[in-house]
C-alpha cells in the first residue's frame, strides 16, 4: 500500500559487500542523489517526511526509532567485520521526542562515532524550547526545525548540504513564520563542531543567525 522505500522494523538490511564501496564522510560529491536517513516515531510524520524528501529528489530511508537508526548505520554495537564503509548517508533528519532514545541522544551517538560524525544531523521538533535548541546546536546539530516540516525547509537544507564544498554559503537569517521563528542554526557549521566554549550567546555576534527582532517564546517546560 505504501511505497517500498519505507524501512519498517523488519525490513532494515545492511548493504551487502558487493555494493559500491565508498566512505560516507558527509561531504557530497554532487553527482548522486542525496541519501537521507529520517527517524521519527510517528507514522504520520514518517509518511510526510518521506514524501517531502522524495519530491525533493532525495533517496530516503525511514526508520521509527533511534535504535533502529543506529542499527541501520551499524552503530548498534554488534560486532561486524564489514564495518560501515558501504553506507552512504548524506543527511540524518530526526525527531527530537521519541520514546526510548530521543533525537538528542541519537545526535550524540552519531557525533561520537568516527565514521558518521561528519554527517549533518537535523533535529525536528514541535517544541520551541530555547534550552533544548541550544543543547542540540551545541552538540553539533546542523539545524533545529520546528515542525511541521515543509517543502521549503527540505529545499533549504538540501541547498546547504549540497553547497557545502568548503565555501560557506551566507546563511539567510532565520525566517519568520507566523508569530514565531522556526529554524535555528549556527553559522558556519564548522564553528559548532569545533566549538569548545560552553555557552553560545544567541545575542548579537557575527556567527549568530537567530533573528533578534522576534525572540521565540520561552517555555519553562523541559
Amino acid at each position: 500500500m505504501f511505497s517500498g522505500d519505507m524501512a519498517t522494523a523488519g525490513e532494515i538490511l545492511r548493504r551487502s559487500l558487493t555494493d559500491e564501496v565508498g566512505v560516507s564522510k558527509g561531504s557530497f560529491s554532487g553527482s548522486e542523489e542525496l541519501h537521507v536517513l529520517a527517524v521519527d516515531d510517528s507514522f504520520v510524520d514518517r509518511k510526510v517526511i518521506e514524501r517531502l524528501l522524495k519530491i525533493s529528489s532525495c533517496k530516503v530511508t525511514v526508520v521509527e526509532s533511534g535504535s533502529r537508526a543506529l542499527q541501520y548505520l551499524g552503530l548498534d554495537g554488534e560486532k561486524s567485520s564489514v564495518g560501515f564503509n558501504d553506507l552512504k548517508i548524506n543527511l540524518i533528519m530526526t525527531d527530537y521526542s521519541m520514546p526510548g532514545m530521543t533525537g538528542y541522544e541519537l545526535l550524540k551517538k552519531i557525533k561520537e562515532s568516527s565514521a558518521f560524525r561528519e554527517i549533518p544531523v537535523v533535529i525536528m521538533s514541535s517544541e520551541n524550547i530555547l534550552t533544548r535548541i541550544d543543547r542540540c546546536l551545541e552538540e553539533g546539530a546542523e539545524e533545529y526545525i520546528i515542525k511541521p516540516v515543509k517543502l521549503s525547509d527540505v529545499k533549504r537544507i538540501k541547498d546547504v548540504i549540497m553547497g557545502g564544498d568548503g565555501k560557506q554559503k551566507k546563511r539567510r537569517s532565520v525566517r519568520k513564520r507566523g508569530r514565531e521563528d522556526r529554524i535555528y542554526s549556527l553559522s558556519p557549521s564548522s564553528l559548532v563542531q569545533s566549538s569548545s566554549s560552553p555557552a553560545f550567546d544567541f545575542l548579537p555576534s557575527p556567527f549568530s543567525t537567530l533573528s533578534l527582532s522576534k525572540r521565540p517564546k520561552l517555555q519553562t517546560r523541559d
Binding site: F2, F43, V44, L52, I55, S97, P148
Partner: protein, 160 residues
C-alpha cells in the same frame, strides 16, 4: 451534463476548503500536503489523513480509558498521548484539534482532572467535525475524478 458536474464539484470543494480554513479547522500545512500529491502519488493526502484518523482514534480511546478510570493518576502517560496527538494533528494541518490538545495538555500538567474531562469532550467534538468534513472533501474528490473520466469518453474508448 457530467462535464458541468466536474466544475460544480470543484467549486464545491474549493468552497468547503475555504470554509474550513476560515474556521481554523485546517491551516496551511494541509495545503502543503496537497502540494505533495501528484501523479506519482495521487492519493497521498487521503493516505496520510487515513493514517491520522486511525492513530487519532487509538489515542482518543487511550485518553478516554485513562481519564474514566476511577483510580487514574498517570498524567504523565496522558501527556505522552497528547504530545503524539498534537504532533500528528500539526503535521496534517488539523489546527483546531491541535489547539485543543494544547489546552488539554495544560490541564493535564496541572493534574486538573475536571479540566481534562472537559478538554477530552471538546477534543472528541473537534475531531469528529474534522473527520466528517475531510470525508466530505474526499468524497467530492472521488466524484470529481469519476465525472472527469466520463467527460472525456474518447479516452475510455481507447481502453476497448
Amino acid at each position: 451534463m457530467l462535464g458541468w458536474g466536474v466544475d460544480r464539484l470543484r467549486a464545491d470543494m474549493s468552497r468547503l476548503l475555504a470554509i474550513l480554513f476560515h474556521q481554523g479547522v485546517l491551516d496551511e500545512q494541509f495545503l502543503q500536503l496537497q502540494q505533495l500529491q501528484d501523479e506519482s502519488s495521487p492519493n497521498f493526502v487521503s493516505e496520510v489523513v487515513n493514517i491520522y484518523f486511525h492513530e487519532s482514534e487509538k489515542l482518543l480511546r487511550n485518553l478516554r480509558g485513562l481519564l474514566l478510570d476511577r483510580e487514574f493518576s498517570d498524567y504523565k502517560k496522558m501527556g505522552i498521548h497528547l504530545n503524539q496527538f498534537m504532533g500528528s494533528s500539526s503535521s496534517i494541518g488539523a489546527n483546531r484539534v491541535r489547539n485543543v490538545c494544547v489546552a488539554f495538555r495544560a490541564a493535564s500538567e496541572q493534574n486538573n482532572r475536571a479540566g481534562c474531562l472537559r478538554a477530552l469532550e471538546l477534543l472528541e467534538h473537534e475531531y469528529c467535525y474534522l473527520k466528517n468534513k475531510l470525508h466530505e472533501l474526499f468524497q467530492m474528490e472521488q466524484q470529481r475524478v469519476l465525472a472527469a473520466g466520463a467527460r472525456y469518453p474518447l479516452q475510455q474508448q481507447q481502453q476497448h
